[in-house]
């Protein structure tokens, strides 16, 4: 870990989130109501906390982080540490210097809590006492459960049934933190009841869980909190990149390459956007978004208007998408299964500002193991995609005789995914 003098620690946590919208290279296409049906944009006023919605459409470059949120950021352990991956460098025998920001050091094991806290806070100051959300693998649900606990609010988490049944650890974590965890599809919503009436043993999907969480919030005047894709979520996550800018500055390093994995884009956007929009170093930085080959939105997705949710309850967004009807294959990186990509990140990809790579599960399994053996941290399978890209980049630069500073975001640890790794090991042992 890179050690910083205590006097700098408080200064590393930013006082403002960074909003990249005014610094985009082209107009960001607005959210859209589909040709038919009720206005989803109008409906979103009843779904999201009012301040979250206002921030979604703000063009302020810097948005103040409320003191109450900064206090919670400190409680959960921000700033998160920056590590130099000495042993990985040694393992690769590379001339490049590799750093990683470790968001897995946060209490629920991933970066998700960075936006769960402000979203729940904004619902809380609106006088709402109950938030709803969905979760697939459980990372986002755990973050919301913790954020709600910190503000003494209630949380109902609709958990995809397949995960609800097969990930009792994650479920227990959310319940331990006081959240009500509901197996989705459920009888708590109209859409859930309809699905169960046709197929009582339906395994569920993230799209159905989102729909249930939104419907449940609307019916009870609760508020729904969203884990990725929306620009406001990427803005909240900018604490990651802003801290990293400061941490690198304190040790006199300037990045050449910024790498992060991509599901909906909040981890990548939060980490990379401050470097894209406001970092004023002397080097031209490469930005690399890393996705899953099995959910190949970069190579096979289209850039078009699509719904962010399967039930089509939210406004359409112009994004790189595999289609809201896309059924992801059963890969173990739950956070990368999402069909779409945040509109701002889609624009950057479309304009060629951000490069992308895609890796298969078998490739990231090996990268995760090498990283764990060298650095002692088991990465989340999602984050292992970024690790694989970093390893490849270091080798590529070595071949060209170059030495670079490569910085990546280790968005989560993999201790709560260890059963997934176990399953992956069996799956690929059989294959070989």
């Amino acid at each position: 870990m890179v050690i910083f003098d205590k006097k700098y620690i408080d200064n590393i946590i930013p006082k403002y989130w960074y909003n990249i919208i005014p610094d985009l290279p082209a107009p960001l296409p607005p959210p859209l109501d589909p040709p038919e049906g009720p206005s989803r944009i109008e409906l979103s006023k009843k779904i999201l906390p009012s301040e979250v919605l206002r921030q979604q459409f703000t063009i302020d470059r810097y948005v103040p982080i409320p003191d109450e949120v900064i206090e919670k950021y400190q409680i959960i352990g921000r700033p998160t540490p920056l590590f130099r991956a000495y042993r990985l460098e040694k393992l690769l025998n590379t001339k490049s210097r590799i750093y990683f920001k470790f968001e897995g050091a946060l209490p629920t094991g991933s970066h998700k809590i960075n936006t769960a806290i402000p979203q729940v806070y904004y619902a809380y100051i609106e006088g709402i006492d109950h938030v709803t959300t969905e979760t697939g693998a459980g990372q986002w649900g755990s973050a919301v459960a913790l954020a709600a606990a910190l503000y003494k609010m209630k949380a109902t988490v609709f958990m995809v049934r397949a995960s609800y049944e097969h990930k009792p650890g994650r479920r227990a974590l959310m319940e331990f933190l006081g959240a009500k965890v509901v197996s989705s599809p459920s009888n708590l919503s109209r859409i859930g009841r309809e699905i169960l009436s046709v197929n009582p043993s339906h395994p569920g999907s993230l799209g159905i869980a989102i729909s249930e969480a939104i419907e449940y919030a609307l019916e009870n005047n609760f508020r729904y909190v969203m884990g990725s894709v929306l620009d406001v979520v990427l803005m909240h996550q900018s604490v990651i990149g802003l801290e990293t800018v400061k941490q690198l500055e304190l040790i006199g390093e300037e990045p050449d390459v910024i790498v992060a994995c991509v599901g909906g884009g909040s981890n990548f956007g939060g980490f990379a956007y401050p470097f894209i929009g406001i970092y004023n170093g002397g080097k031209k930085i490469r930005f690399i978004a890393v996705g899953s080959k099995e959910v190949s939105k970069f190579s096979k997705g289209g850039y078009r208007y699509d719904f962010p949710d399967t039930a089509k309850s939210l406004p359409m967004l112009k994004m790189i998408t595999l289609g809201s009807e896309f059924i992801p294959p059963p890969i173990y990186s739950g956070g990368l299964r999402y069909h779409g990509l945040a509109p701002s990140l889609s624009l950057f990809i479309n304009k060629g500002v951000v490069e992308w790579r895609e890796y298969s599960e078998v490739e990231i399994l090996e990268a995760a193991r090498l990283f764990a053996e060298s650095q002692g941290i088991i990465p989340a399978p999602e984050s292992a995609h970024a690790i694989k890209a970093v390893m490849d980049l270091a080798r590529e630069y070595d071949k060209e005789g170059e030495s670079k500073v490569i910085v990546f975001n280790l968005s989560g640890h993999g201790l709560l995914d260890i059963e997934n790794y176990s399953s992956m090991m069996k799956r690929y042992a059989k294959a070989s």
Binding site: A26, P27, I41, K45, F57, T58, I59
Partner: protein, 248 residues
């Protein structure tokens, strides 16, 4: 220094709620302080419009009103009202833009607003402006907060007779935004008259004028009112004109 009146821009869907009531509304509204009318020509998909304006388009579509015929029949009224801006989506005219411009010229309309021009055709906007100009039509450009400041500054020089700044993602839906901050941010960059629209309530009208706007646009409120009676829509105009005149 001369006192300059603030601009009132009124949107109405062409032929809504019926040809007669539409004509009656336009003739009367022109005499109570409307500076520009925007006439919405029925598009296939009013994608950047909100529920009220979409409802008006659906209604006109169901009535089977030939909106272009209405446009041509308006010449006599338009001579009195003068300042008319046609509004429709470029998406529908990608392949017959020239035909649209000719229709407008025939109807003696010299201004056109294409809400999707700078969103979906941003790389081509200059060529559309030039082409329209050659045909005798000025383009009134629409910008939104999510467009880069530099682009807003650049296009403001080309936009006639004003630049239209829609401060919300869609018309008539009051998504929480900070109107004065949004207006102040671009005021110094805009080198033409600046008109603000999209979901403004009456308090926000004062707010945006204080922040430096040259005028405001109303549409959904007019649609909602005219559905009740033409007089209701005229009352909205009188009320808003009063607010604008208080800011001379």
């Amino acid at each position: 220094m001369p006192i300059v009146a603030k601009l009132l821009v009124v949107y109405i869907t062409l032929g809504f709620p019926s040809i007669e009531r539409f004509k009656e509304f336009v003739a009367k509204a022109a005499n109570i302080g409307v500076d520009y009318f925007e006439f919405g020509i029925l598009p296939k998909y009013a994608k950047y419009d909100g529920p009220a304006i979409r409802r008006s388009y659906d209604y006109v579509r169901k009535l089977g009103i030939d909106t272009k015929e209405v446009l041509r029949s308006l010449k006599s009224i338009l001579k009195d009202t003068g300042n008319v801006i046609a509004l429709t989506y470029l998406e529908d005219y990608e392949n017959n833009f020239e035909h649209l411009l000719k229709e407008l010229v025939n109807a003696e309309i010299s201004k056109l607003l294409l809400p999707d021009l700078l969103i979906d055709y941003v790389d081509l906007y200059k060529s559309y402006i030039e082409f329209a100009k050659k045909m005798g039509i000025d383009l009134t450009l629409f910008v939104s907060p999510s467009m880069p400041d530099k682009l807003i500054e650049e296009v403001s020089k080309e936009s006639k007779p004003f630049l239209y700044y829609g401060i919300r993602p869609t018309t008539g839906v009051q998504i929480p935004v900070s109107p004065s901050i949004l207006v102040k941010r671009i005021r110094s960059k805009v080198q033409s008259k600046l008109v603000i629209g999209f979901g403004l309530d009456e308090n926000e009208i004062s707010e945006v004028l204080n922040a430096g706007a040259d005028g405001i646009a109303i549409g959904s409120a007019i649609i909602n009112a005219i559905e009740i009676r033409v007089d209701e829509a005229l009352k909205v105009i009188s009320r808003v004109r009063g607010i604008l005149d208080g800011h001379r």
